[in-house]
């Protein structure tokens, strides 16, 4: 008996795996004691998180003045971090929803972790609009609830309010979507669990799932519907975030190109972050057969495409500024490129436009180490993109008398670090307690790219393990 491999489609999962192997492989990190590496990473993340918590506590206790902001520059690190994290979050939804709608089966290896990344990134992001308020304890005033003030409602014209709705919706839908995917895996875990506590916890979380085909039938519809809702949602969220700037009057902010530009940028940075995380995870958790080099290459291609859109947007913005004839707008872009914050602008350009062009080369796309470095480069670039948009636009706007400079304080840097601490702490906890790969979905694509023939025959598996096309 021999196995035939499709010429057109490569298998998604490398190596010949049986269903049980998948479960075993994916769940292994959950069932083992945490490794030393995990502990080190976790403690480092937790420490950084604690530093951030201290910084934020201090800031809330003493005042926003502990940040480097001033009368001219009212936002800097806070909203930069907010947009950055929201952007990071976008890749997860894109992978789970948009690629699902496009029937990109390879998404199954990474969608669980990417979605987890989304949820954690949205949490990181959501902290910033909260703590950037002068009186964060009154945050609930942005919720339109009937009250004894007459009722005094909220301003539905404010992009910050839109943000509140967008982010809370995004978080809710992402969580639901993620959890829906998690239910069957929780059931798998429950049925494998030996200890009573685990059985109980996983039992609670699996909602009584038993794999009934009738439920699977509704499940798939629900999943599809959620994917269909999440797809425009993910586009809307960053569009709305971009409207924080686009609807403002400040040169450098007031730009109609922002929504698509921001969405592309978000996916660009999000995929880079996914790449960063997956490259680490596949190595550390030994998921090379699930997150294959092909996966990485595919993600690189998305990074390349979205990077291209971002570069195009930069170009259009500059073109519009120079040829549109608004002197404030024109100055803003000259100032970005040659003014006091030129360094940030050129970091942004080189990280987001120049270096990603290396991904045109297939060898580089398939070189894990290089891709890893590039993914970090892109993330740095995208952080600076937001910094450039926010700070350089504000620091020299209409009236030269109010021009000012911004320098972050130690508190702001600690807060930024703390958000990374939060991100990695939660991500490490996720990797520890939740199946990193969607077991149920990977099983479904196990045969993808392989002819339907006797996969259960163990002898043939062994014989042809190394065959590739």
């Amino acid at each position: 008996m021999s196995i035939y491999y499709s010429i057109l489609r490569k298998p998604i999962i490398a190596g010949d795996k049986k269903l049980k192997d998948i479960t075993d492989d994916v769940i292994r990190p959950l069932e083992q004691k945490p490794t030393l590496l995990w502990w080190v990473a976790f403690l480092v993340s937790l420490t950084v998180l604690l530093i951030g918590v201290i910084a934020v506590t201090y800031q809330i206790k003493v005042g926003i003045g502990t940040w480097g902001l001033n009368k001219t520059i009212g936002w800097a690190f806070d909203i930069t971090n907010f947009v950055f994290w929201i952007g990071i979050g976008h890749a997860g939804t894109l992978i789970s929803a948009i690629l699902f709608l496009f029937r990109q089966r390879w998404r199954t290896s990474i969608n669980r972790s990417a979605e987890a990344m989304t949820i954690i990134a949205v949490m990181c992001a959501g902290i910033f609009p909260l703590i950037h308020m002068g009186r964060p304890w009154l945050f609930f005033w942005v919720i339109p609830y009937p009250n004894l003030r007459g009722s005094l409602w909220v301003n539905f014209r404010s992009p910050l309010l839109w943000d509140f709705f967008a982010i809370s919706t995004y978080f809710t839908i992402s969580l639901i979507f993620w959890y829906l995917g998690l239910i069957p895996d929780m059931a798998t875990l429950r049925d494998r669990a030996k200890s009573k506590i685990k059985k109980f916890v996983y039992g609670l979380m699996s909602f009584g799932w038993n794999g009934s085909a009738r439920i699977w039938h509704h499940y798939e519809t629900t999943y599809l519907m959620l994917a269909a809702l999440a797809t425009p949602l993910v586009l809307s969220v960053h569009s709305i975030v971009s409207m924080d700037f686009a609807t403002a009057v400040i040169p450098g902010w007031h730009s109609t190109i922002f929504p698509p530009y921001f969405v592309a940028g978000a996916i660009f940075s999000g995929f880079s972050m996914v790449l960063t995380l997956m490259i680490i995870a596949r190595k550390v958790l030994h998921y090379e057969e699930y997150i294959t080099i092909d996966h990485i290459e595919k993600m690189c291609k998305i990074v390349l495409v979205t990077g291209g859109i971002v570069a195009l947007s930069y170009g259009i913005e500059i073109f519009m500024a120079i040829f549109f004839g608004n002197q404030y707008e024109r100055f803003m872009f000259i100032n970005r490129a040659l003014g006091p914050y030129a360094w940030a602008f050129w970091i942004m350009i080189s990280c987001n436009v120049i270096f990603p062009q290396l991904l045109w080369i297939k060898k580089i796309r398939r070189n894990v180490a290089l891709v890893f470095i590039l993914s970090i480069v892109v993330n740095i670039g995208m952080w600076f993109e937001r910094f450039v948009i926010i700070v350089t636009s504000l620091h020299r706007d209409f009236l030269p008398s109010s021009w000012a400079m911004y320098k972050p304080t130690i508190i702001e840097i600690a807060t930024l670090a703390g958000s990374f601490g939060l991100f990695f702490t939660f991500f490490l906890l996720f990797a520890r307690f939740v199946p990193f790969i969607a077991i149920g979905e990977v099983k479904g694509v196990l045969k993808y790219g392989k002819l339907k023939k006797n996969l259960t025959s163990e002898s043939s598996l062994k014989a042809n393990a190394d065959v590739t096309v």
Binding site: N147, L148, R149, G150, L152
Partner: protein
């Protein structure tokens, strides 16, 4: 089945809670509706304003001139209480008794008014001021109607527009002890202003009460 029962029970419980809350009038934080603190001197608005029909503005004379209606200073009280030292009934009893005992009637001074006399440095036995009039310690009334510091309510505008005192303060002339009648929320203010603009308040028909923020907040 069990599940549904639980839901039904929860709904009923919530309903009961809401009704209960309404019944015992639990105030939300920051709202002091019904506040009726014990005052250092048991001044009766019922007696002065109700029975004796003294005009509100006799004592609260700033109400039509200033933002604050004002708590009367002791000299305003003394305008009458230099002569009136106790309730009529008490004085009559003493008079009758004195007549019976065939002696000149003793001056009768109510306990509450003694507090006032102390503050005004008034010798009630001689019915005249001491060496230094008004050299005592003023009476520390407890404010009943408290607005936050960021609210600037102007009595003058309301009084001059023809808003009766009772509109906001309730039937003070019936109160032995003054109670905060309205909840003093912003909604209470705003909704009255809206009613004025809609012509729902007969005595203020044709008037315009702005609901711009800076009417009260600046």
């Amino acid at each position: 089945m069990k599940q549904n029962l639980l839901i039904v029970l929860l709904v009923i419980l919530a309903f009961i809670l809401v009704v209960l809350a309404q019944q015992i009038k639990i105030n939300l934080p920051g709202i002091n509706q019904g506040y009726a603190p014990q005052q250092p001197l048991a001044f009766s608005h019922r007696l002065h304003s109700g029975d004796l029909q003294i005009d509100c503005m006799y004592c609260h004379s700033g109400a039509d001139k200033s933002r604050h209606a004002g708590i009367p200073s002791e000299n305003v009280c003394m305008n009458c209480h230099r002569f009136v030292t106790a309730g009529w009934d008490k004085i009559r009893i003493e008079d009758e008794r004195a007549q019976k005992e065939k002696r000149p009637p003793q001056p009768v001074v109510s306990d509450e008014l003694k507090k006032l006399y102390r503050a005004a440095a008034f010798d009630e036995t001689q019915m005249k001021f001491k060496d230094k009039p008004y050299s005592g310690k003023p009476i520390e009334w407890t404010r009943v109607y408290n607005l936050p510091d960021f609210v600037f309510f102007d009595h003058r505008r309301h009084v001059n527009a023809g808003v009766s005192c009772q509109k906001c303060h309730g039937a003070v002339e019936t109160m032995e002890k003054v109670t905060q009648v309205p909840d003093l929320t912003m909604g209470w203010c705003v909704n009255c202003h809206r009613d004025v603009n809609k012509g729902k308040i007969p005595e203020l028909k044709g008037r315009y009460a702005s609901i711009s923020c800076t009417v009260c907040h600046y």
